[in-house]
Every structure is written in structure tokens, then in C-alpha cells.
């Protein structure tokens, strides 16, 4: 077993364990903290895949913004959580069955696919993936339109979130 394989196995065990803890914890702040561990593990996976830029962005966006927003929201809507005895709804058996079926189905499908055992081709030393990604995101014959649409989407989400979360005058 190479070092990379050991790192991969350890990280994926950590990701799956904290993912499992996240969906089963009763205390939502604990769930959010386990979510952060899982997200950090995914960043490590990105490093293993030689996508350093995405790994850093993963930490910046997911841990620095999304997870902290989650914890914040959990704390703002407390009150109810202490009352919530049962963290899962009545249909959780069906959900478990569906998720397990889905997982096994995916694994069987992946196993049947011929390209599955392919090894990673070596990246040539001259190509700077960050540079290529940056130019692809703003060049008109590549991804400039999705990029700009994403920025519009973010702006719309920003305004929408403000409008939705702002306290109504009537409810005062």
C-alpha cells in the first residue's frame, strides 16, 4: 500500500464516519461540527486529486462560510431543538431503505463500468491547472457564460436572502 492509498483510506473513513454522525446526532451543533469534519475531508480528497485550488476554495467557502452560517442558524432557531426529542421523522425507515438501496445500486453500477479501474494519467509538469482554470472561466469560447450566470445567481441569492429573512413590519 502506498502512502497515498493510506491517506485516501483514512480520509474516506473519516468522511463517512463524520457523515454518519452528522445525520444521526440529536444535537444540531454537533451535527454541524461533524459536517465540518466531513467537508474538510473532502478538501483533503481534492488535494489527493491534485486540484489544490478547489481544495482551498472548499475550505474557504464550505468551512469558512457555509458551515458557520449553519451553526449560526442553528443557534438562532434554538428554542425548538431542546424540545425536539426525536431527530428523525416517522418515515425514517423508508428513508433508510431507500438510501441503502441507492448506495448498493450505485456500487453495483460502478462495479460494472469498464473504465472504473483506470489509473490517473500523469499531469504534465508544464501545465498550471490554476492558470488554465482561470483563463477558461473568463474566455468567451469556454465557460464565461456559466461563470457570469453564477455571479448573477449569487447576487440574486444575496438579495433574496435579505428580503426573505428581514423581519416583517406587521409582525412587530
Amino acid at each position: 500500500m502506498t502512502v497515498e492509498q493510506a491517506v485516501f483510506l483514512f480520509t474516506s473513513a473519516l468522511i463517512l464516519f463524520s457523515g454518519f454522525m452528522m445525520v444521526t446526532r440529536r444535537n444540531l451543533v454537533h451535527a454541524a461540527l461533524y459536517l465540518i469534519v466531513a467537508l474538510f475531508g473532502v478538501a483533503v480528497i481534492f488535494v489527493l486529486l491534485e486540484a489544490g485550488f478547489l481544495a482551498v476554495v472548499q475550505v474557504l467557502v464550505y468551512i469558512g462560510a457555509i458551515a458557520i452560517l449553519m451553526i449560526f442558524a442553528v443557534m438562532l432557531t434554538r428554542g425548538d431543538i431542546s424540545k425536539e426529542q426525536e431527530p428523525v421523522n416517522a418515515d425514517f425507515g423508508w428513508a433508510l431503505m431507500l438510501a441503502a438501496l441507492f448506495c448498493f445500486g450505485l456500487i453495483i453500477l460502478i462495479g460494472q463500468w469498464p473504465a472504473v479501474n483506470s489509473q490517473a494519467p500523469a499531469l504534465s509538469a508544464e501545465t498550471d491547472t490554476v492558470f488554465e482554470l482561470g483563463s477558461a472561466l473568463v474566455s468567451p469560447d469556454a465557460y464565461v457564460i456559466p461563470f457570469e450566470v453564477a455571479s448573477v445567481l449569487l447576487l440574486a441569492a444575496l438579495i433574496g436572502a435579505l428580503v426573505v429573512a428581514r423581519p416583517h413590519k406587521k409582525s412587530k
Binding site: L33, F53, I63, G64, I68, F72
Partner: protein, 394 residues
């Protein structure tokens, strides 16, 4: 490569050769890297001991006092005495605290700062890892600091700690916006996010090309550390001690050390982004000189942070947020757009310096006019009281 020119590379090569005699290559790389990590991290933490003494001395001078002067010459051993005191104190964990989170939080706060030192270029060729996304990495590990504060505040199960954590998150997330936007200005000027390239491309220090960005970076960094005037996070007159209210002994010490190291790290980052990092006469030849230059420039930035701390009082929480969102963020965005356009047009010509300086000046002028206009509108709305008779001496 002789010892005097480049001691670290010399030692690293010597160790590699020595270990290479009886160990496989992968292990040698691992051990040498581990040694590098341990040396860098312990250097940071040991330096804090000196920084605490320095800060207490300088803050004392600002307040017309002597500062620590009993333990050792010039009070140099005072910090060691404090460490011994912190270690021997009882380690209290509150009954209702969330134990695991409570214990991880202080460690995470130190780790978050130490991680930054992995990409600090000390001298030509002396850098932990020259990531090609170094600047983004610095921003990303900063989020662990926020996380540690939130964890500490929540797990203490104390209302003041939670209030402090809420304030901290509001402040740190807000001030990350202008900090990141201004960091893009040196990235544009250096045409790279790598820290080494950043320093190498500063034939002319970036503070001359982007003076306002430098100031905004310093201000938002001070807010990121949570020092006066932005110390609402641990405002002792309002919320006891904020997020670390419940911490005692060395766990409090870790938060304390992290804060001091972070403040100095801000100075070093300021030096790297705007003051040319290790550049200086002879630094290419004798690399140890580069480290000295970087530390001196970093201490200069640190001194400015201390100076601000001793001069300004704490600002109000709504002023803190308004200052960020209504002043720093728009200004830094305008500067980014201005720099991007001017540097694209004049970047490779001799006009780069005067044009960029003029651009900065015009942004400053527009800001000043806008502020004047809004403040005049404010004065119009101000109530004018009727003149009341005053007793006058006969």
C-alpha cells in the same frame, strides 16, 4: 552553496545525505519535512514569548509607565514567569460545558495561525510550501480561527461567551470581505497568487503602487485579530471576556498566544504583500539577512498595530459593521476595479507607478468628496437649539 550564504538549505542537504545512507528515500523526505514543520512551528510559538514582552513594554511606554522590569534584565523573564503561573493554575472545565468541543477550540485557534506560516516566504528559497494559491490559502485557514471562536463560545455554555462568539463571527466574517478584496490588488500587481512570486515581483514595493489598499488591508486585519479599536469580541467592560470567559490555565494561554502570534503574523503578511517581504540589500547573497529584513518589516507592521491599539478607544458595534459595509467594502471594490483597469493598460510601461498612484489619489479624492457630501447632509438634519441666556460677568 556554502553555509554562510544559505544555512538552512545546507543543513537540510546534510541531513538528507546523512539519513540517506541507511533509510529509504521516502522516509528521508518525510523526516526532513517533519523537521521543517517542527522548526517553523516552534519558531512561531517561541517568538510569541518575546512578542508578549515587547508588547507589554511598548504599551507601557505609550501609557507613560515602565512595564515589566522585575524578572530578569529589562523584565525579559516576565513572560516565562507568567507561563509557569498559567501552567500551575487549576484547569477548570465547566460542569455543563461540551467537553470535547471545549478542549479542541483553543488548540484549533493556535493551529489556525500556525498554518499561515506554512506559506510565509522567509528568504529566497526558504518557504514551507510555495503553493500556487498561497494567498487564497491564507484566507482559507483564517476560517479555522473563526470556527475556533464559535466552538469556544458555544461549548462554554455561558451567555457572555456565546455573546462574544456571536459578535466575533459577525465581525470576522464581515471584515473578511474587504480583506479578501484588497488582497486581490497585490495579486493583480504580482500576476500570481504564489507567495514567493509575490515577493519576487516587488521591484517597487506594492505600498507605493497601492497605498490605500495597504491601509485597508491593515485596518481589516486588525479587525480580524480583534484588537482595539475592534475588540468588541472580548470587550471586558461589556461581556466579561467574550468567548474565552470560561477558560483557565494554559487553555486560556493558548488563546492568548494565538492572538499575539496572529497580530505579528498580520505584520509579516503586510510586509510580504506591501513592503517587499525579504527583499533588501544583500538578501539574495546572504539568505539569513532576508529573514532579518522580513522580521524587521513585520515588527514595523506589528508596531503600527500596537500603536493603533494604544491610541484609539473601542468603537460601537453598529459603527463597526457600518464602517465595514458602508465604507471599507465599497472603497476596496473601487480600488480593485481601478487597479485592474489601469494595470492592464499601463502595466508593462514606465507609466505604471505614476498612473497607479494617480488612480489611488483620485479614488481617495472621490471618497473624500462623497464623505463630505454625506456629512453636510447630516449637519442639515441636526437640530439647532435656541440660544439661551447665559450668565455673563458684569
Amino acid at each position: 552553496m556554502s553555509f554562510i550564504n544559505d544555512p538552512i538549505t545546507f543543513l537540510a542537504e546534510w541531513i538528507t545525505q546523512f539519513l540517506g545512507g541507511f533509510l529509504p528515500e521516502a522516509w528521508v523526505t518525510f523526516i526532513v519535512t517533519l523537521l521543517g514543520v517542527i522548526i517553523t512551528a516552534s519558531f512561531g510559538l517561541v517568538f510569541v514569548i518575546f512578542l508578549i514582552w515587547l508588547e507589554r513594554k511598548i504599551a507601557a511606554r505609550f501609557q507613560d509607565r515602565l512595564g515589566p522590569n522585575r524578572a530578569g534584565p529589562f523584565g525579559l523573564l516576565q513572560t516565562f514567569a507568567d507561563i509557569v503561573k498559567l501552567i500551575t493554575k487549576e484547569d477548570v472545565i465547566p460542569e455543563k460545558a461540551d467537553k470535547l468541543t471545549f478542549n479542541i477550540a483553543p488548540i484549533l485557534s493556535v493551529v489556525a495561525v500556525l498554518l499561515i506560516w506554512a506559506v510565509v516566504p522567509f528568504a529566497p528559497g526558504w518557504i514551507g510550501t510555495d503553493l500556487n494559491v498561497g494567498v487564497l490559502y491564507i484566507a482559507a485557514v483564517g476560517s479555522f480561527g473563526i470556527l475556533s471562536i464559535l466552538m469556544a463560545g458555544w461549548s462554554s455554555n455561558n451567555k457572555y461567551a456565546l455573546l462574544g462568539a456571536f459578535r466575533a463571527v459577525a465581525q470576522l466574517i464581515s471584515y473578511e470581505v474587504p480583506m479578501l478584496v484588497t488582497l486581490m490588488v497585490p495579486v493583480l500587481l504580482a500576476r500570481s497568487m504564489g507567495m514567493m512570486t509575490m515577493v519576487e515581483s516587488q521591484d517597487l514595493w506594492f505600498i507605493f503602487l497601492a497605498p490605500i489598499s495597504a491601509i485597508i488591508f491593515l485596518v481589516s486585519s486588525i479587525a480580524e485579530v480583534g484588537r482595539t479599536p475592534f475588540d468588541l469580541i472580548e470587550a471586558e467592560s461589556e461581556i466579561v471576556a467574550g468567548y474565552h470567559t470560561e477558560y483557565t490555565g494554559m487553555k486560556f494561554g493558548l488563546f492568548f498566544a494565538a492572538e499575539f502570534l496572529h497580530a505579528f503574523t498580520i505584520g509579516v503578511l503586510f510586509a510580504i504583500f506591501f513592503l517587499g517581504g525579504w527583499r533588501g540589500p544583500g538578501a539574495e547573497q546572504f539568505r539569513l539577512l532576508g529573514v532579518v529584513y522580513l522580521m524587521l518589516k513585520g515588527l514595523l507592521g506589528y508596531f503600527v498595530v500596537m500603536w493603533v491599539r494604544s491610541t484609539l478607544p473601542r468603537i460601537r458595534i453598529d459603527h463597526m459593521l457600518a464602517f465595514n459595509w458602508k465604507f471599507l467594502t465599497p472603497l476596496s471594490l473601487a480600488l480593485l476595479v481601478m487597479t485592474a483597469i489601469l494595470d492592464k493598460v499601463f502595466g508593462d510601461t514606465a507609466l505604471r507607478f505614476p498612473v497607479l498612484l494617480a488612480g489611488n489619489g483620485s479614488v481617495l479624492l472621490v471618497t473624500w468628496l462623497a464623505l463630505r457630501w454625506t456629512s453636510r447632509r447630516h449637519t442639515k438634519e441636526r437640530r439647532v437649539f435656541k440660544k439661551r441666556p447665559v450668565a455673563k460677568p458684569a
